[in-house]
Subunit: 338 residues, 2 copies
C-alpha cells in the first residue's frame, strides 16, 4: 500500500487593481482577478487572462479535481507529467507552488537549483499601454526607464512610435498583440523600423505561421518575435525558421519546467528568447525572474503595473531586477493584503 | 576587481580493462583509457573513445588550456556556456565534476536537484559484443538479463539474432553501429523484425539522415534509433521525422546539461530517448543514471563490462539500477584502485 504524503492544496481568488487602465489590442482592463494557491508551504499563482480563455471558475474547477494527497514533493517531473490537460494557468499555479516548496525543502533559492547566475538577468522593459500618442510619450518621459515595450494595434501606431522615440532615447520594443493582417504588417513595419526598434512582437493573428515566414523573408531589419502563437516547447518547433525569437510566459507554458523545455528548444533552433508575464503579482513574476538569466530579453513589469501587490519578491533598480535570496521563489505575503 | 574563487582542477588517465574483448562494428577493444578529473571536491570522467576521435592527449590538452580559478561553482550555466569548443569528452568531464561539486555543496543527490524520481529508471540492457552466433547466444543464457542489446555489423547478423532469440525470451535491441548501407538495411531489417525486436540503433552510416527517413518510411515494424548521428540538441532537430528515437550519451553531448537539452528537444519532436554510455567506469555511468528517469530506454552497462572499475556508484539488481543516495553524483573511489 502506498504511503500517502498527505499534501494539502488550497486556493483563493484575489483582485489586482491596475495603477492605470491597461489597454492592449485585446481590450482594456482596470482590474484582473488571479488565483493564489498554497501547496503545503509552497505558493503559486494562476492568472485568469481573458484572451487565453482562463477564468477564475475554470482554474478553480481544475484545482478541485486534483488529488494531491499522495504527491511526493521532490518528484517534480512525475507530478508535472501526470497533471491532466486543462487550464494552463492552473497548471502553472501548481508548478510554481511545487518549485517553491521544493526550494524551501532544499533550503535554496530556485535560481541556484537551476544552476543560474542571478547577476545575469537582462534589464526589463516597462510596458506602455495604448493611449493617445502624446500621453504615451509623457509616460515614457516620466518613467525614465531604460527600455520600453510599446503596445500597438490602434489607428495611431506610427504616430505613437514617433512620439515616444521623440520623447526618449531608451531602447524600444513593439508589441502588436495580433492586431495586424499581413498587408498592414508589411506596410507599417518598414516605416516603424526608422525609429530604431529592437524587435516587434506578434505582428500577425495567432496561428499565422506562414504569414510570419513571409514577413520575415522581407528582411525589414526588425526582428520578429511571437508571443500568442507559442505556448509549449512543441509550438516552438512549429516556428522553426519563421521567427527570430519567442516570448515565454509561465502562464502560457504551464509553469517553470515546461518554460525551461521551450527555452532549450528555442536555443536548438537558433531563436532568441524573451521572458514575459501577464498582469500578475510579485509571486508569479518573481518565479519568472528566476529563469531570466537564461533569456536574452526580459519583460517582467507586472508588479510595476499593479496598485495592490499582495506579495514581496523581486526588487527593481531602474531596469535591473534583483532576485530575493530566500529559499524557493523567495516570495513573502505582505501582511494585511494577502 | 573580481574575487577569485581559486578552484583547482586536476586530472589523470587510467586504463579500464574489459572482462572480455569487446567487438563492435567500429573495431575490437581489450582496454580503454579514460581520464579522471577532480574539480575541488567534484569528480568527473572523460572517455577517450577512438571512433569519436577522442584521445587522452587531446583531453589533456583541452583541460590544460582552461583557467578555472575564477569559476563560481554554483553558476553551472555560465561556466558550461563559456567552455570553448573542442573535446566533447573533456567538456563532459568538466560538466560531471561541476554537477558533482554542486550536489555536494547543496548536500543533495543529483537526481533530487533535477526533480526526478529514482524509482522511475527503466531497466537497463546488457550489451553482447560481436562474436560467433553460438557464443553470443551462450552469453545471453549465462547472464539471464531481462534485456539484451546485440551488436551487429558482421556477416552473421541474421544468424546472431536467430541464435539469441532461440536462447532467451528476454527483450532484444539491435545496434548496427553504422555498419549497413541503405540496401543492406532495407534487406535485413524486415528479416530481423521476425525475431521480436524492440528497435534498431544506427543502421546507416553516420550522417545519412535522408537514408533514415527513407528507411523509416518503409514501415518495417522496427523503430529506428540513431546514436552516432546525434551529439547535441541541435543534431536532434535535424532528425525531426527521420527517426523514432535517439540515443543520448554524456560523452557525446558534452555532459549532463546539454543532455537535458537534447532530451527536451526530442520530447518536443515526439522522439523517444535512450540513455547510453561508452566504455566508462561507475563514475560517468552513475552520472548518466541520474538522468535516466527522464528516458524511455536505458543502456547503462559500462561497469558490468569492466574488470577494474575504480569507483562505486550505481548498483544493479538484475536489470534494475539503484542510484546512490550520497550528495552529488554519489560516486566514491574504491581504495587502492583509484
Amino acid at each position: 500500500m502506498k504511503l500517502k504524503n498527505n499534501m494539502i492544496l488550497s486556493w483563493k481568488p484575489y483582485i489586482l487593481h491596475l495603477k492605470t487602465p491597461f489597454r492592449i489590442a485585446h481590450g482594456t482592463s482596470n482590474t484582473r482577478q488571479n488565483m493564489i494557491l498554497q501547496l503545503d508551504e509552497g505558493l503559486g499563482e494562476a492568472a485568469a487572462v481573458p484572451y487565453y480563455n482562463e477564468t477564475i471558475s475554470g482554474i478553480s474547477d481544475y484545482l478541485s479535481n486534483l488529488d494531491v494527497s499522495d504527491w511526493h514533493p521532490d518528484h517534480l517531473e512525475d507530478i508535472l507529467c501526470m497533471l491532466p490537460a486543462g487550464s494552463q494557468a492552473a497548471r502553472t499555479g501548481i508548478d510554481l507552488a511545487l518549485h517553491d516548496l521544493w526550494g524551501k525543502r532544499l533550503n535554496q533559492p530556485l535560481y541556484r537549483l537551476l544552476g543560474l547566475n542571478p547577476d545575469k538577468i537582462p534589464e526589463t522593459s516597462y510596458t506602455i499601454g495604448i493611449d493617445q500618442p502624446e500621453l504615451m510619450a509623457d509616460r515614457a518621459r516620466q518613467m525614465q526607464w531604460p527600455i520600453y515595450k510599446i503596445k500597438l494595434g490602434s489607428e495611431d501606431d506610427e504616430a505613437i512610435v514617433a512620439a515616444i522615440r521623440e520623447a526618449t532615447s531608451a531602447r524600444i520594443r513593439l508589441d502588436a498583440n495580433t492586431a495586424w493582417d499581413r498587408q498592414r504588417a508589411a506596410d507599417i513595419i518598414p516605416r516603424l523600423a526608422e525609429y530604431k526598434i529592437e524587435f516587434i512582437e506578434q505582428p500577425l493573428p495567432k496561428g499565422d505561421i506562414e504569414g510570419l515566414r513571409w514577413l520575415r523573408s522581407k528582411n525589414f531589419g526588425v526582428p520578429i518575435f511571437v508571443d500568442e502563437n507559442i505556448q509549449t516547447a512543441r509550438d516552438v518547433v512549429a516556428h522553426a525558421g519563421a521567427v527570430d525569437g519567442i516570448v515565454i510566459k509561465l502562464m502560457k507554458s504551464g509553469g517553470i519546467r515546461e518554460a525551461l523545455h521551450a527555452i532549450h528548444v528555442a536555443r536548438a533552433l537558433d531563436m532568441q528568447v524573451m521572458i514575459g508575464c501577464m498582469v500578475e503579482s510579485s509571486l508569479a513574476v518573481t518565479a519568472a525572474a528566476h529563469l531570466a538569466p537564461l533569456c536574452e530579453y526580459v519583460d517582467l513589469d507586472g508588479p510595476l503595473l499593479v496598485q495592490n501587490d499582495p506579495f514581496e519578491g523581486i526588487k527593481y533598480q531602474d531596469g535591473r531586477i534583483i532576485l530575493p535570496q530566500e529559499p524557493g521563489l523567495g516570495v513573502v505575503p505582505i501582511q494585511g493584503k494577502h
